[in-house]
């Protein structure tokens, strides 16, 4: 990964108030350093990828931005404010786990989570479910959904309150190609509507032609940041292949 050349993407021209601004953020867990002095800014209306090997600190970074963990050092500002309570209505979070109740139907799940944001309209929830390609009338409990359906419903849960910033951790893992493309298309529509989207993924090729930029992390540090294009994708694939070859050699 370190072989990637540093280029300056258009998106790094920081707006007056970036959607996300991290200043010298570090995170330590029981003696393990997950992030080391990360300083980044993500502009509004951009779809950014966070790439790196397992343990690079991508998910930790996302949890810090979501307010689910506190930085050991440094500060995080969303839409110009460091006060967490001011972000919450404007933030959507879709982590690796589904964050759904298996015993409830899709609509019951969404109605509950929408109510946490003050949304009481049943039709609003039905539209959100239909928006991700699911049937809002489906009476099946979420525990009986396929992985692809769960991921789509999880996305509907994350965007039901129409957030300005959407954080996604591995949204394409364990889903078929068709579901992955539908999720990618939904993210593209959100970006086109002026929302900021941050995606942690090991499958950036799904977002080829959709993502604007990519940030590469390694051992808790930002090692590269570039526009997301064919050249960047090839560099990512070569770096991934290189790390796999190294791993095989090590074994």
């Amino acid at each position: 990964m370190t072989s990637l050349a540093v280029t300056t993407p258009q998106s790094t021209q920081q707006a007056v108030t970036a959607a996300v601004e991290l200043r010298n953020v570090s995170k330590h867990f029981d003696g393990v350093i997950a992030l080391r002095g990360v300083s980044l800014a993500f502009d509004r209306g951009q779809l950014s990828l966070l790439l790196g090997e397992n343990g690079a600190g991508k998910s930790t970074l996302l949890r810090l931005i979501a307010g689910l963990a506190t930085a050991t050092e440094g500060s995080i500002a969303l839409f110009g404010s460091t006060e967490r309570d001011k972000w919450k209505c404007r933030l959507g979070f879709m982590p690796h786990a589904s964050l759904l109740y298996d015993e409830l139907t899709g609509l019951e799940n969404l109605q509950y989570f929408a109510a946490l944001y003050g949304i009481r309209d049943r039709e609003f929830c039905q539209r959100a479910i239909a928006g991700v390609g699911l049937d809002p009338g489906l009476q099946r409990r979420v525990g009986q959904y396929s992985q692809g359906m769960r991921q789509r419903l999880s996305l509907a849960r994350a965007v039901v309150h129409d957030p300005d910033l959407l954080l996604l951790d591995e949204p394409f893992s364990n889903v078929d190609v068709a579901s992955a493309r539908e999720i990618a298309a939904h993210l593209a529509r959100m970006r086109d509507a002026g929302k900021s989207v941050l995606v942690v993924t090991h499958q950036p090729q799904v977002l080829d032609g959709v993502a604007d930029e990519a940030v590469f992390l390694e051992a808790g540090r930002v090692i590269d940041r570039r526009c997301w294009n064919l050249e960047a994708l090839r560099a990512f694939e070569e770096a991934s292949l290189g790390s796999r070859v190294k791993e095989v050699r090590r074994l």
């Binding site: 307010g67 919450k88 589904s98 964050l99 759904l100 409830l104 944001y117």
Partner: protein
Amino acid sequence: MSSLAHITRIGLRKDLRLEWRSKDALNAMIFFGGLIVVIFSFAFEPTQEEARQITGGLIWVAFLFAAVVAMNQTWARELRNQVLDAYCVSPAQPNALFLSKALGNFVFVIILEAVMAPLFVIFYNLRVLGPAWQLVVVALLGTWALVVNGTFFAALSLRTRSRELMLPLILFPICLPAVIAMVEATTNILTGDGSATSWPGVLAAYDLLFTTICLLLFEAVLKTE
């Protein structure tokens, strides 16, 4: 933004619906409580007068042990699929989550008591000599004392490795004053002793104090990493 009462109500409705469909807590509680009654009935063979003296203690010990099962289940379902994170990133007030969980547990333990109390009456051939309606007041106040602390300490031990063991270790000493008040009040009502009146007051004061403390501290507990 939605009010505390609204979020509490939808949280309670969601928990009751989850329990109705899974029956995780109720089945375990009622089975466990039933076992305790049967074991106690084999261990003691009291006369009717002796039964009035000891049933207050037995009944509340049985409810306390069985209630712990429900408290653990309450938060366990929030850990599956990490659903608790969805609540934490939302603007909903942490206390609404606590109140909905405490009220849900209150409903479950009251159902347990409604099922178990007739069993105690049958097994111990009980006849209440005091005003029986006061038992309802003691049950309501005593149950709230158990569930408000149980819900709080179950949340506190949520991220510990051996949380099912931790809960009774923390909860039982804290609940001791309430348990003494419940047992004394129940025994006094069963035996017809007129001095029962002060114990419900003690329970009410205990409930007020610990509900306030739990509400003040719950947000910090929820934010613990």
